[in-house]
Subunit: 144 residues, 2 copies
DNA sequence: CTCTATGCAAAACCTTTGCATAGAA
DNA sequence: TTCTATGCAAAGGTTTTGCATAGAG
């Protein structure tokens, strides 16, 4: 069961149809191994499939999110980016404020405490988002 | 040293000028005790100061952020909101996905682990953002 | 006086949608 | 044949800016 199969089943379950553009976009999406903006994805899609329009990329991205293959993230700087979701376990982000480097991390102790914290306030946990900002080793070397 | 003084000093430090609209907007801003959108702030400003334009609210809000009085937050649902910053210690958010209720919290254990986590990856911590989503007690009562 | 702040309106952006046509089932 | 999908272009919505005038220092 890979991403493409998940997507095809999702398409079927919604009574939608298969199409080349959708599979082409999915393929390009899966081969970009970072958090991408719609424009970045579109640019990459155009290289392989010049005839695909922006609107189709846009609509397919929404489908991917709905189908659990993609997650839309809104960052502190106001940008919107998308990341792979299927087969990727939950993770949080370390982000370098100098160079933008992004590291995916999970800290089980923090995860457990987050659940406790929510329960303590009467919440039933569903999901969360944690972004930790700072300067990475490299950036501190060059600019002391 | 209150917010208004902080703002005036900030204005001076940047070689800018005092003005009634700016102080009026700051005053209204400070009296809204929740995370507000630009439009909500503008609506509130218009009641007290009908002649102030949207652009001035917009530009003043940017100044407030720059001056450390206000923080711009981008939420998972794509909305942008602003919260008071000066005199408010750092905090994280619990957000009800049903009713939108927002609780400000701090968990010292989590804070400490976040710092450790960053250090472990070679980052020097600057700030972070943690939003925990779930359903609150009330919403689970009404819809079981 | 001189330089900044303001209100207005328009521009720039980004996101989303309508529609006629192409394509899947 | 009967739907849905697509590309294009245009509409929406929000954020940002230019400019002439008002206002602060």
């Amino acid at each position: 069961m890979n991403e493409t199969m998940v997507f095809e089943r999702f398409i079927e379950s919604k009574g939608l149809k298969h199409s080349k553009p959708r599979l082409g976009i999915l393929d390009v999406f899966l081969n970009i191994e970072k958090h991408m903006s719609i424009d970045e994805l579109w640019a990459a899609v155009r290289i392989k499939h010049p005839s695909i329009g922006y609107a189709t990329v846009y609509r397919t991205l929404k489908l991917l999110c709905e189908g659990g293959l993609c997650r839309e993230l809104h960052f502190e700087d106001g940008t919107t980016r998308f990341e792979h979701l299927y087969g990727h376990d939950h993770h949080d982000h370390l982000i370098c404020t100098e160079c933008g480097r992004l590291v995916e991390v999970v800290d089980e102790k923090i995860e457990a405490l987050q659940v406790k914290l929510m329960r303590r306030h009467g919440f039933s946990p569903k999901y969360h988002r944690m972004d930790l900002y700072g300067t990475c080793k490299n950036c501190r070397k060059s600019e002391p």
